[in-house]
Amino acid sequence: MTFNIYDLSSFTQSVDAWLRNAMSPGWASLTEYVVIGLVFLILYAVVGLYLVYAERKVCAFMQNRLGPNRVGPFGLFQTIADLIKLLMKELIPIKNADKVLFNIAPFIVIIASFLAIAAIPFAKGLHAIDFNIGIFYVIAVSSVSVIGILLAGWSSNSKYSLIGAMRSGAQIISYELSVGLSLLTIVIFAGTMQLSSIIESQANGWWIFKGHISAFIAFIIFLIASTAETNRGPFDLAEAESELTAGFHTEYSGIRFAFFFLAEYMNMFIVASIAATVFLGGWMPLHFGTGTGFNHIMDFIPPIFWFTGKTAFVVYLMMWFKWTFPRLRIDQLLTLEWKYLLPINLVNILVVAFLTLMGWYFK
């Protein structure tokens, strides 16, 4: 099997060829599906666990303290210990809750983020599902999680959960508009919705530089709107600890709570990787123009590290927001969306359409 770190499609194709030699095409396809599914499950779990650890360390350093530092070297096994503790907790059944909905809700949230993570290009050749409507698919599928949140709040049969779920539902539905519209600016620039073509089109520079002011404004709006989408940061009133205990997941315990918790961190990862792909070039190294020496130096770093670095940077920005700002109230949040973000977004799209028509951007 050939393993070229710069173009992993050779590795995946050689594995594919080996499988088709060893068994019939039907079985080979089935094996491939199972293997890819397992790889994604493990990736989901491991990245989720270490994102929780990273958040605790980042938050601790910002607060002049150390963070987890006892379980394992530098506290690396802390989240594994937390996971074991959550697995061993008793699943407390609620008396008058709707049992079917109560049990299904965490699964819906997890399934929504699984569907989205399948379409992300991790490196050159490591792209599980390459739809020609890539971006549209990701936005559509991540909206499914709002059903899970509303079901969780409603079926818990508790006033706090209901208020939290209603707030969260209103918030997510409003901010999806901004997310979609800000991604649309890059779609207009690139001319395609397919994620791999968007990345290819950034071979001579990332869209945030090529699209100058409009792309930068779209990036900022996308950051704000996606922080609100994932119930994080200054927009986390659905789980505001100091007001309503824990909002829509108050009544969940043990592994069901772990699902909500994990899904929140993985949604953050997904949103950060979409931002990195669309605005910052995905796995494409930093190029300025074509065929210069600078580009050759940048090409030395394999694409998988570029992708991980950019996603880590956007994740760090989202964590920075959360630990600095106080919370917004629900009506201020909705005012921010409908009176500030949406008009600016619409005007931005008009400007981008005009720029593309006139060709006034760095091609």
């Binding site: 980042v58 350093f61 910002m62 303290r65 920075w320 927001f321």
Partner: protein
């Protein structure tokens, strides 16, 4: 027109104030020398309490096992909630006269409020504050301490 200008002014000043706040947390993120955590059980050897620290009430004994408590009971009278019980006995002193001496000085650490009145009002300066602060026990009877050590006796020239 004025509303449009106000709108953009709001946005500009808002973003500027948010960036100012982010600069502070960002500054602390990159300064590991400002970390104030003390790694507690590992640093027990270097951990020194201040000299007046109110850890518990002790009766200092010198190297010949002498203390200064005469059993007068003034600390028991002054303690606001009865954390001190004095049990005295009669014994013969150097001239052969029978005097009162301390048998047991019982101190209930579980009830003490650390007000310091016993230390302050003792006429012979027999009590002091110790620096031990790790008092957590599994057995509550360990918190009732007898302050005078067995076999100790009064120092010669105490009133």
């Amino acid at each position: 027109m004025k509303e449009v200008l106000n709108y953009f002014e709001d946005i500009f000043f808002g973003i500027r104030s948010l960036w100012a706040g982010m600069r502070i947390t960002g500054k602390y993120f990159v300064s590991p020398r400002q970390i104030v955590t003390q790694k507690y059980p590992e640093n027990r050897k270097e951990l020194k309490m201040t000299e007046r620290f109110k850890g518990e009430v002790i009766m200092p004994h010198d190297e010949n096992n002498h203390h200064r408590c005469t059993g007068c009971g003034i600390c028991q009278i002054n303690c606001p909630n009865g954390s001190i019980e004095i049990i005295t006995k009669k014994e013969l002193n150097a001239e052969g006269k029978e005097v009162r001496a301390i048998d047991k000085h019982i101190y209930h650490l579980s009830m003490c409020t650390f007000c310091g009145l016993c230390v302050k009002t003792c006429p012979s300066d027999a009590l002091a504050f110790g620096r031990e602060f790790e008092h957590a026990v599994f057995d509550k009877s360990k918190l009732t301490k007898i302050l005078n050590q067995p076999g100790s006796s009064l120092l010669k020239d105490v009133k």
